[in-house]
Symmetry: C2
Subunit: 468 residues, 2 copies
Amino acid sequence: MAETRGGSFDVVIIGSGPGGYVAAIRAGQLGLRTAIVEKDDKLGGTCLWRGCIPTKALLHNAYLYEQILNAKKLGIEVEGVKLNFPEVMKNKDLVLKRLGAGIGFLMKKNKVQVFTGMGTIRRPGLVEVAGADKAVTLLETKNTIIATGSEAKVFPGMEPDGKGIITNIEALTLGAIPKSLVVIGAGAVGVEFASIYRSYGGEVTIVEMLDQVLPLEDEEIAKELRKLFEKRGIKIHTGTKTESIKAAKGGYDVKLGGKSSETVTAEKVLVAVGRTPNTAKLGLENTKVKVERGFIQVDGLMQTAEPGLYAIGDVVPTPLLAHVASAEGILAVEHIKGLDVHPINYERNPSVTYCDPQVASVGLTEKKARERGLDIKVGKFPFMALAKPRIEHEEDGFVKIVADAKYGEILGVHILHAKAGDLIPEAVAVLNGEMTVEALAHTIHPHPTLSEAIMEAAHAIYGSPIHL
Amino acid sequence: MAETRGGSFDVVIIGSGPGGYVAAIRAGQLGLRTAIVEKDDKLGGTCLWRGCIPTKALLHNAYLYEQILNAKKLGIEVEGVKLNFPEVMKNKDLVLKRLGAGIGFLMKKNKVQVFTGMGTIRRPGLVEVAGADKAVTLLETKNTIIATGSEAKVFPGMEPDGKGIITNIEALTLGAIPKSLVVIGAGAVGVEFASIYRSYGGEVTIVEMLDQVLPLEDEEIAKELRKLFEKRGIKIHTGTKTESIKAAKGGYDVKLGGKSSETVTAEKVLVAVGRTPNTAKLGLENTKVKVERGFIQVDGLMQTAEPGLYAIGDVVPTPLLAHVASAEGILAVEHIKGLDVHPINYERNPSVTYCDPQVASVGLTEKKARERGLDIKVGKFPFMALAKPRIEHEEDGFVKIVADAKYGEILGVHILHAKAGDLIPEAVAVLNGEMTVEALAHTIHPHPTLSEAIMEAAHAIYGSPIHL
């Protein structure tokens, strides 16, 4: 086995997802000698190739498709609307390809050296890269950032079979729209694919072990999403386990247990029961790194127990979200550079599920705030009472604000609406600015926009929204 | 002429646009005995019936129409896309009707008495309402709020002729799409109608006396909008006067002068050269109110020189925008009630032009900041470098941030993008929170969303956006 020296670096980053590649760019900007190691033949990781981006491309497509099917009430007549599924996939792949090329360009621009192969830590300060041809390149480095991400969790009996039992990966490359689909798990991934394939005309059933869809989101928001999903014809079983998946005529029999005990037959079964951090084959045993339930333990500045070794993104026990990974990557690099940095306040981190309608939130849910014993007030406002949602024929959903009762500080904002993802950044700024309900209610919001619902929800905390 | 007493009130509001009706709701909520006077047979004013709302309904329709025409590249095949213009108008009217009914409901709910007729001030504390039947109702009141709005300004030779010379009113009720249209004035109104009728297939020419379209917006933003409009096939003449409009075969000859001196022939001519406050027949001569160039002079709490008499919205010399009128209405009413109130900071007031692509802004333009002698830094970021705009095939436009060079306080945010209006509320919160560039750059924005461009523009101020 040939070993070559790949050079000596200030920082080597293992993994080129939105944690790793963003960290690499920032490191390059700060003048650090930087290398990035990627096992795939292309940069971008799960987010770009198997996660956020292709999913959102399909979701956008599904959204537009439904808009077109309903365009008649707006006075736009169309005939023979037809989804050309191979073309849908081709468009999606084109978007990915362009974005992937963009990352390659950014690596060059920021003088980041790219190494293709499996990165492992031979010892602190030495990363080995095993290429496809088994050739090993050794990278000496002052600092290392682990950003190897996660992959779909699979329980025994649910393993992808190369046919109809699938994960997010296969769900993004299907050759045809499944006539029927069982989605196991009602987290963001499951709910997004359910939304896509329902829009495309599939019969979709969601099975969730916990008592609500999107278990991390506010209860009322989740309850209303469920209602709207059911209105779209999606069948939902919560508090329900998947007992077994058996091949059957035309697909699979999925036997349920718990609140629901029926057997659902479907062409495809999507397993979306969570993610597992990719920390197994990294050589962590050669370091002081502590791992708990697969996750690498870090401090507020993303440092592991091994000096000079950082971990960011899905491998650490913080929210498994691309933008969190990016922020952690920037934080780690700026700390390496010796800049004045601060730990991330994860309670001001937004989360968006891009199903139809979308769910977006930041801060505390009502339940979490009450569990902490906080004295809170809650304000809610439905979109249907405003002009813009009526103009756009998107009246479903509401905004919910959780605020401190005494001082009025806003603690959480939860939004259910077709365009919730576009609205939540305002709420993030509001939380970061420690704005009070009073100030938000008196902040001028442009008319007519969807954002007026946020202002009205603030008014609602004191019992007096204008348009209700 | 019969005179009847209509009762005695804490506050009488003249005009039921978004200034007046919102003020009335807030007054009712605060327990004030409230009356509202409206000359039309329906509540809502210009915004609802002749302005923001119907325009945005057509703009949304035009947007969706273009999306459908371009759906093929997303893998959605449609045949025979046809705009049924009477149906487009019918859908728009239905939206207005529902919203109008909503205002009526809100008046009842908040115990606001509605009087239909021309409201004038006979003397301070006495408002007379002249109904269609000439019957006069007298309202005694402790406080009066003038919220009579504005109407299209028309210069001699440009008067609407009931045929092809039109204002915003007629442009919203056309029986057919004009084959060709000259729009005089490139403010928000002109630019929005140009956008609508261009999407619908009309040949559109814009004529503007000043040197840029949207003269109040940032120069660079306006320049890029112009470029994109021209790419859409809209002809634009800036620095150009309209010398004359003469009836000609199939429409009108519009003779231009200035930078451009050609004669443009078009089926319709839309006059959108500004707005005139409706302050002429209000009986202001019976009060101490001061009027300058048609506008009622007020202090920071919307008080005129006459005690107990307030003015809000388009009749006062603040930005002529619906949401400003609403905020002023709430302010006036809360002051009447004796609540602790503060003057509006108009420099944190957002503005949105809903053309395609949209322009949205808040705070200082680069030019204005420099004129004030401020030491500033500017950061820009193009949407095309991000994932979400690529997914949505809406890559045009950019974000521009103007910030204080020394302390990094953000002074202005300017956005050009198809969905700029959805993005600007975050910027408003940022300005209100007096957030620094540093803080904004480190605020986690959900991925993938359009809002990432705002974060990147903050990074760009220090020369280091991530994705560029």
